[in-house]
């Protein structure tokens, strides 16, 4: 009986998802979405090689690229990577450490995040997994936007440099729903300025907004966490989401809220195949 109910729930959910999709588009196909997404940017910027998109605005603007290369000579995030390594290797009170929670001891795994966890029916980001690891080992959760969690995430990204982003959307309704939810968030206009993420980073990528230039959506998640000169420190992707939302005068959501995790899921899937190059240095 339980199983029947469960199956019925899944069916209803599935039908609902399909209906929602039906109204708008032929069906949910992440693979096709990604193909169009990449094609869109390669047409817009024919001289930019695919892997270059992981470098954000520096793939599109020479003047800024020169400054970035200068900063990459000795990037300020190196201190954070060292700090992250030390934190990562320090055992918890129970004697275990972060490595015990991840595949391959947590080394070179950044490219597999975020993933859809069928058990909990949720998108798991790397930062969420780091905190779950802490909780499972009797430690307190870390704050999500900066500080220790950003440093640990930076170290894990650093050990994964060169690996290709490999986010999967399994063919199950809940995963597809999470993907589509993230996609909707990306294309929906919000805030008093009535801008969507895509308005700036898809339609107007490479253009100027006031005195600043807009980077392309393709490649956005590959280099996080980033050391932003504006912050003067390291911050996570969700911190940046919040900043972008605020810029269009929309109230930012909590870091690691379901919507932001779904957003990261969609955005990362779009950048599949690009190299992990985090942590990054950005203006």
């Amino acid at each position: 009986m339980k199983y029947l109910l469960g199956a019925a729930c899944v069916c209803i959910f599935f039908v609902q998802t399909l209906q929602a999709a039906d109204k708008n588009m032929p069906g949910i196909s992440p693979a096709e979405d990604q193909k169009s997404f990449v094609e869109y940017f390669s047409k817009r910027f024919p001289s930019v090689p695919f892997q270059e998109f992981g470098n954000g605005i520096y793939a599109l603007d020479e003047g800024q690229r020169a400054q970035w290369e200068e900063i990459e000579q000795f990037p300020p995030y190196e201190f954070a990577v060292d700090a992250g390594k030390a934190l990562f290797e320090t055992p918890f009170a129970n004697g275990k450490s972060y490595g015990s929670c991840f595949e391959n001891g947590g080394i070179g795994v950044r490219q597999d995040y975020p993933y859809f966890d069928s058990g909990s029916g949720q998108v798991k980001t790397l930062e969420l997994a780091i905190n779950e690891c802490r909780e499972n080992n009797g430690e307190k959760k870390l704050k999500y936007k900066k500080g220790d969690i950003a440093a640990i995430s930076a170290y894990m990204a650093f050990t994964s440099r060169g690996e290709l982003l490999n986010v999967k959307v399994p063919d199950e309704p809940a995963a597809l729903a999470a993907y589509q939810d993230g996609m909707q968030f990306y294309y929906e206009k919000r805030g008093q300025l009535n801008f969507s993420c895509a308005d700036c980073h898809v339609q107007n990528a490479g253009q100027n907004i006031r005195a600043d230039s807009l980077s392309a959506a393709l490649g956005h998640p590959t280099h996080f966490p980033v050391y932003r000169s504006k912050w003067g420190e390291l911050g996570t992707l969700h911190r940046r989401f919040g900043g972008c939302n605020k810029n269009v005068r929309a109230t930012p959501l909590d870091a690691q809220s379901e919507s932001y995790r779904n957003l990261e899921y969609f955005l990362s899937y779009m950048s599949n195949g690009l190299e992990i190059n985090g942590p990054g240095a950005r203006k």
Partner: protein
Amino acid sequence: MINKHKKITNNCLIVTVFMTAWLGLCGSAFAQGENMESSYKQTLGLALQANEKVMVLEHQWTTVPVLLKQAEDAAGEKDFARANEFAAEALKHAELGIEQAEQQGQRWVNAVPR
């Protein structure tokens, strides 16, 4: 003839509007104080309600909490006319956020590159 008729109607309209406005002004002047406070409270209630809804929709504008705070501050200083203005503005921005959410729930697909 027709034109003239229209003109008269227009004049009538204008007079009526003026009369109403004048009456309204007098009324508000007499009834100020408690009336203003209760209408502020009413507007604030509506604004808070709309704000709750827009937050659930995750479409709150950053202006809303600011306006609500300004309304409460003005009310704290017993300036209920100003408080009411801020609350009304907050209500408007919350409602626009709701409308934006509903509209975008349909339209976002059109922005996807195909």
